[in-house]
Amino acid sequence: MSIALLLIPLGLVLLGVAVWAFFWAVNNDQFEDLDHVAEHALDEEPAAPALPKSPP
């Protein structure tokens, strides 16, 4: 059963990674707007900057 000595600390590390990832997501606005971000693909593109006129 000495494998538990490896697996339990490993589980702790994974838990740490999961908590870190969740905190990162919260701090980076991943949960600020759950409803409308999916529709952003349908928004109008911002107007493209006017291209400099090429000489004739």
Binding site: A4, I8, G11, L15, A18, V19, F22, F23, V26
Partner: protein
């Protein structure tokens, strides 16, 4: 806080200083009471108002006797955090609070999952045999995870209970913190002893579920606060003041004093009541009086604050300061109405406080009994009682049902601005509808054309459309679709509030008020021409009058269907409008509504509502204009069109963002469904507690089973609400 306080803090009347803020961490009637009594006891404090629903606090005090710092320190000393109400700082603080809450929930949930695995190991081990060192390893690991959960995720309950105790009051946090502390400390002791039960997983699960309940409650409250802010936002923050030497300066709205000369640009809101100077202009009073047609004002006439200047830029001499302006007093009226708590909510608060007291007494009794009867089982039984009676399902039952209904309504374009609106909406039996902007849309349309001269209908419409395309007046929009071809117009000149003239094919034409056109036509139209209505737009040239147009606001296409839907729900429908009687009668006849009254001032509307309420009717008021603000606030429950004035929004319990009247019936239906869900959730939670408490007190429930039962009952309540939100039930 000090720099944030600066913009929320002003010198009020009578030399008093005033401060408004949002008390973070306030969630029960006890908290509100302690702020009121502690801050009110400071020297020189004249007034303390606490709004429990929005957690908004307003204090007025004598700066000679107390300092701003003292007031803030007192609030913070009670365990609340004073957060600025509006501005970027306020929303930042709210966002930070929301994020902290999300992190706490996330940590508790992840930790609870991890620890439940160790617990399974421990239980299976106890059954089949386990190496003592592995058992100890599992205990120690669980403890390592439990420490951050207890002190980071559980912090709101621990600090809340601490502040409750320091205030010598019993809040919801006290039994929760007692259960947490008891379970945690016992588990830590057992871990160091290396034997006995550990309850770390129960602690994490318990914290997680309680936090979810708090989080939902917080979001419901935030929605209501945002709606209140809309009121303040409808006023400009700064205005331009003319100095005596002719130069101008920008000053804050609060600094405007009577006698100041202010510049109001075109399209801006008139900041305070005042007298117009210089040239005349056209103002849109729809925010103030609900009058949909802009009116002309000449030099020397009074302008009400809150109206919109749709004519040219003008100069205004303020007759009152900003705090005493029409709009400000209406805002104050609404604010006061909102600060009053409905009796049901107060009763619920009192019941919850009593419930908490009973839990503590019960837990103490159970502890005492078992200590005397069987000391070994005293701890487990007491803990089980505290956990099992945690008013989790009970306290979740109401907020989740409301949150679910809010989501369901939001999906259909309706916004709830107050948490208890649904409760009141479900009980409604009479609907009072405003006409302008509610039954009708704000879009103007041509109702009638009367030809007065030699020209035919097509010809006069073409002339009118050609002239009116040069006008920005809202009434001009009625002609846009009236004729497809336009004639070229020269020499266009507009006279504010009168009409417009222009040369078409060499002939000068005027369109507008009767007197204005009569000036050119040098004649009066036949009396018969204006029969039946007094609101015509006239068209004429030097040859005489050409035509009269009746313009009216168009009935919403779904109005008839909406009235039918409301009747199908068993509601009585009435119209109360500030508009002319003839117009109101026509609309009422079109929709088949018997009870319709026109020419009603806001005061008369208030009286009508009061009269209906005295007859034991529960009234839903649907309106839009700012003059509806006090009426909306007085009604049992109120509903405003999303396109209406911002102030009506702030007073309304329900906003129809989709501008569809049919939503009113849908909202009433959803509200009734919500109440059914809430009641059955409460019954379920109560039933669960009634079964579980005796078992726990008898020592038949171990703490892990208690936490499981508590979680299960909460999950069941949440799941039913989720299904309601998606419309499955």
């Amino acid at each position: 806080m000090s720099e944030a306080a600066a913009h929320l803090h002003w010198h009020g009347p009578g030399g008093l200083e005033q401060l408004e803020f949002f008390a973070e961490g306030m969630h029960c009637a006890n908290c509100a009471r302690s702020i009121r009594s502690k801050v009110g006891a400071l020297p020189g404090v004249a007034r303390v108002e606490v709004n429990l629903t929005t957690a908004r606090v307003s204090v007025a005090w004598d700066p000679q006797r107390s300092r701003l710092r003292t007031v803030l320190d007192t609030v913070e000393g009670l365990g609340f955090h004073a957060v600025p109400l509006n501005g970027a700082a306020g929303s930042d603080a709210q966002r930070a609070e929301r994020r902290r809450m999300q992190k706490r929930i996330g940590l508790a949930a992840l930790a609870a999952m991890q620890m439940s695995m160790y617990t399974v190991g421990l239980y299976v081990g106890a059954w089949t045999g386990i190496d003592p060192w592995i058992e100890q390893l599992l205990r120690v690991t669980a403890m390592l995870i439990a420490v951050p959960v207890m002190f980071y995720s559980g912090a709101p309950f621990l600090t809340g209970a601490w502040h409750d105790l320091r205030r010598r009051s019993l809040g919801m946090d006290v039994p929760v913190a007692a259960a947490l502390a008891l379970a945690f400390v016992a588990s830590v002791i057992n871990t160091f002893r290396g034997s006995g039960q550990v309850y770390f997983d129960s602690v994490a699960m318990f914290i997680g579920f309680l936090l979810v309940g708090r989080y939902i409650e917080m979001n419901v409250r935030r929605n209501s606060l945002d709606a209140g802010e809309a009121l303040v936002r409808s006023l400009p923050a700064t205005v331009t003041r003319l100095k005596p030497d002719g130069t101008s300066e920008r000053i804050g709205l609060q600094q405007v004093a009577a006698g100041d000369r202010l510049v109001v640009p075109m399209g801006a809101v008139i900041p305070v009541d005042g007298i117009l100077e210089g040239d005349g202009t056209l103002i849109d009073e729809s925010l103030i009086s609900g009058e949909s047609v802009p009116v002309a004002r000449a030099s020397g006439e009074a302008l009400p604050g809150g109206a919109i200047n749709v004519g040219a830029a003008c100069t205004l001499r303020a007759s009152r300061d900003a705090r005493h302006s029409t709009l400000a007093s209406m805002a104050a009226l609404i604010e006061r109405a909102q600060a009053e708590r409905p009796p049901q909510a107060l009763a619920a608060d009192r019941a919850a406080a009593q419930f908490v007291a009973w839990i503590v007494v019960l837990a103490a009794a159970v502890a005492a009994f078992w200590f005397w009867f069987d000391r070994a089982r005293a701890f487990e039984a007491t803990l089980a009682v505290l956990v099992v009676t945690c008013p989790c399902a009970l306290s979740l039952a109401t907020p989740v049902a409301i949150a679910a209904a809010t989501t369901r309504l939001a999906k259909r374009g309706m916004l709830i601005t107050r948490a208890d609106a649904l409760e009141r909406l479900a009980a409604v039996d009479t609907v009072v509808l405003d006409k302008s902007g509610t039954l009708t849309s704000a879009r103007m349309q041509l109702a009638e054309v009367r030809c007065l001269g030699a020209l035919g209908r097509e010809a006069v419409l073409r002339l009118a459309a050609s002239l009116e395309q040069h006008s920005a007046h809202p009434l001009a929009a009625a002609f846009t679709g009236a004729s497809t071809d336009r004639c070229p117009v020269d020499d266009v000149r507009e006279r504010a509030g009168q009409g417009l003239e222009g040369r078409i094919g060499g002939e000068l034409w005027r369109i507008g008020r009767r007197e204005y056109v009569a000036e050119l036509a040098a004649a009066q139209p036949a009396a018969a021409a204006s029969e039946g209505s007094d609101d015509f737009i006239w068209l004429g040239s030097s040859a005489g009058f050409g035509a009269a147009f009746a313009v009216t606001d168009a009935l919403r296409p779904d109005a008839a269907a909406a009235i039918a839907a409301l009747r199908a729900l068993g509601l009585t429908v009435r119209i109360a409008s500030g508009d002319r009687r003839s117009t109101v009668t026509r609309v009422a006849a079109e929709l088949g509504i018997g009870e319709a009254s026109g020419r009603m001032s806001p005061q008369a509307k208030l009286e009508l509502i009061g009269e209906l309420q005295r007859q034991q009717h529960r009234v839903l008021m649907v309106g839009d204009g700012i003059n509806d603000g006090p009426v909306l606030a007085a009604a049992h429950v109120s509903c405003a069109m999303g396109g209406g004035a911002a102030l009506a929004h702030a007073a309304a319990d329900l906003l129809l963002m989709n501008e569809s009247l049919l939503s009113v019936a849908a909202a009433v239906q959803t509200a009734r469904g919500t109440m059914r869900l809430m009641r059955s959730n409460l019954r379920w939670a109560l039933g669960y507690n009634l079964c579980a408490v005796p078992l726990a007190a008898a020592g038949l429930v171990s703490p892990w089973l208690a936490a499981l039962g508590m979680s299960g009952s909460s999950l069941y309540v949440v799941e039913r609400a989720r299904r309601f939100a998606t419309g499955a039930t």
